[in-house]
């Protein structure tokens, strides 16, 4: 079941396209914004709303890396591991994060606070290395140490 808010938001997007299925990605993002991730039940509800099959919606949901088909933490950390960030110390940043959070890529901390994922080039290469936490981009992390990293993470309870 979709909530009234979710339905209203999806309807606004539907008005932008000549075919309802075109709003699939928008609908997935809307549901994910409300629920944190996209469950099988949500896939079926979106399919019913857009008049397509759950298999169609799932094919799309599993293609895009920013649609989560499994639960994630309250905050998702995306570390840019593309070339300029790699040259300027992404491996070091990644190791610091993994040590501090006690998790590897693709995992969520036991308290459900953070999920750690790699991401391709964030388009801020003049201030590499960079990462995103939720919707915030953190830059200039070349000489980041454990203390500064802790201070950044503390902003995400």
């Amino acid at each position: 079941m979709l909530s009234p808010d979710e339905i209203a938001e999806i309807d606004r997007e539907l008005a932008h396209y000549e075919q309802p299925a075109a709003a699939t990605i928008e609908a997935l993002k809307i549901v994910q914004r409300h629920r944190g991730w996209v469950s099988d039940e949500a896939v079926a509800a979106i399919a019913a709303k857009l008049g397509c099959s759950p298999a169609d919606v799932d094919a799309v949901a599993t293609f895009y890396n920013l649609i989560y088909r499994r639960p994630v933490g309250r905050h998702v950390i995306h570390v840019c591991d593309s070339v300029t960030c790699w040259m300027l110390g992404e491996p070091r940043l990644t190791e610091l994060l993994k040590a501090q959070l006690g998790i590897d890529y693709g995992q969520t901390t036991a308290d459900g606070r953070f999920t750690l994922l790699p991401i391709c080039c964030l388009g801020t290469c003049d201030r590499a290395p960079a990462m995103m936490i939720d919707e915030d981009t953190h830059r200039d992390l070349e000489s980041v140490d454990a203390a500064r990293l802790s201070a950044i993470l503390e902003r995400y309870p």
Partner: protein, 433 residues
């Protein structure tokens, strides 16, 4: 209307003030904004397209296709399909590239004016901005600007009192580099997996929902209002070469002042890297550079005096691509860098065709083993074969051939590094019981 007395020499960034929010509509118009659209609405659509051709505007997304030619492929007139679309490709995910972000965050109205003129020229009443998900600030700036344009009759019905109607919608994506390929982008906008389509038919005749569609890069569209306002001759005069205009060039890597700068098209690599990026950090030397993103061939120090324009960089053996350079210094491991690039391409393959889906992870694996000193003597032969087997004509789209560009050029320019790594691997293997 305009506070300006002479045309700007850096039109794209003229109104961008670093660390300030972008201009709202009133300030934008005080600084020459919407003069281009006003002029365009007094011209025939075909004349606007012809103006792009005579200005020598080439697409800034990487391929460099002439914008006026692209627009002229769209059916026009009484018998043309009633619904047509124009799409702005803001899926800026080419590693090393951050120019469209700058333009959208700094001056969203310039882009909106550009896509509106593009819509007028091809007879499209609907435009979409396809924006990568991570560009949150650009999305905010665009939403605000679009809203103001609707409120002030710069979008919607009867724009500026004309009989031209144009709606603009923002679509934020959900990831995947392949969305930047224009037919994959169209599939994604239709709510499908972003898998490239076979061409022909080309989008100009059958694109979004099967309707005539033009896909232009953000930077390309940002040039359009200025060309209409100041003319083709002025635009050609901005450039040092035969392609018109300025270009947002950029450089990243271990440089003193990495960044992005609007400079005359055809500025040399040396001027960009030395005068603007300040050269390499102390103690480092230039070994090579990717001129325009991850999917371009390495060039080396001998190419420093090549002008950064489409034809000159092609003649030097690479592609200008996005014009955003990635610099390799003498302390960075070449094999590690190429391995990083190929991991990116392997991960971002859409999986539709076998050579790309299976070949790229194989390439990545070989490079990783060479980097770790666990390669095999035949690895270099296999890598060279792969650059042919995944090259142009062997795959469904340009993704894998693009991935082969840095690899094949690295195997050429930095052959000794690869041979040394293979030899080191052989020695390690020989020492094992």
């Amino acid at each position: 209307m305009s506070a300006r007395t002479s045309p700007p020499s850096k039109p794209l960034t003229d109104r961008i003030r670093p660390n300030h929010p972008p201009y709202g509509l009133a300030d934008y118009e005080r600084h020459g904004g919407y003069q281009g659209l006003r002029a365009a609405l007094k011209m025939s659509p075909q004349d606007v397209t012809a103006l792009m051709k005579s200005a020598g505007l080439r697409g800034r997304g990487g391929a460099g296709f002439p914008t006026g030619v692209k627009w002229s492929l769209v059916p026009m007139g009484e018998n043309a399909p009633k619904q047509k679309y124009i799409i702005a490709n803001g899926d800026e995910m080419e590693p090393g590239t951050f120019k469209d972000r700058l333009l959208l965050e700094g001056d969203p109205l310039q882009f909106i004016e550009g896509i509106t003129i593009g819509g007028y020229a091809i007879g499209a009443s609907i435009g979409y901005v396809f924006l990568r998900a991570e560009y949150v600030e650009a999305a905010r700036a665009l939403r605000k600007a679009i809203q103001e344009c609707y409120a002030r009759n710069r979008l919607g019905r009867n724009i500026l009192g004309s009989d031209f109607h144009f709606d603009l919608y923002l679509h934020t994506s959900a990831g995947r580099y392949i969305c930047g390929e224009e037919t994959a982008l169209i599939n994604s906008l239709e709510g499908k997996r972003a898998i490239p389509r076979a061409k022909p038919p080309f989008p100009a005749t059958s694109g979004l929902f099967g309707k005539p569609t033009v896909v232009n890069n953000i930077e390309t569209l940002c040039n359009v209002p200025h060309i209409v306002h100041y003319g083709a001759e002025w635009f050609r005069g901005l450039s040092k070469g035969k392609d018109g205009g300025t270009k947002i060039y950029g450089a990243s890597g271990k440089l003193r002042r990495p960044g992005a700068w609007e400079l005359p098209m055809g500025t040399t690599v040396r001027e960009i890297l030395e005068d603007h990026a300040g050269g390499l950090r102390a103690g480092l030397k230039l070994r090579g550079f990717l001129p325009g993103g991850a999917s371009t061939d390495f060039l080396t120090a001998e190419h420093l005096d090549v002008p950064m324009d489409f034809d000159s960089i092609a003649k030097a053996g690479s592609r200008m691509g996005t014009g955003m350079m990635i610099v390799l210094d003498d302390q960075t491991d070449v094999i590690g860098m190429v391995r990083n690039l190929e991991r990116f391409f392997a991960r971002e393959s859409c999986g539709w065709c076998t050579p790309c889906r299976d070949g790229l992870p194989w390439v990545e694996k070989i490079l990783a083993s060479l980097e770790a000193g666990q390669g095999r003597p035949e690895d270099l032969t296999i890598l060279r074969q792969m650059t042919r087997l995944l090259g142009p004509g062997r795959t469904f789209c340009a993704h894998a051939p693009g991935a082969m560009e840095p690899l094949q050029s690295a195997l050429g320019h930095f052959r000794l590094d690869f041979e040394r790594a293979a030899a080191r691997s052989a020695a390690v293997a020989g020492g094992r019981p």
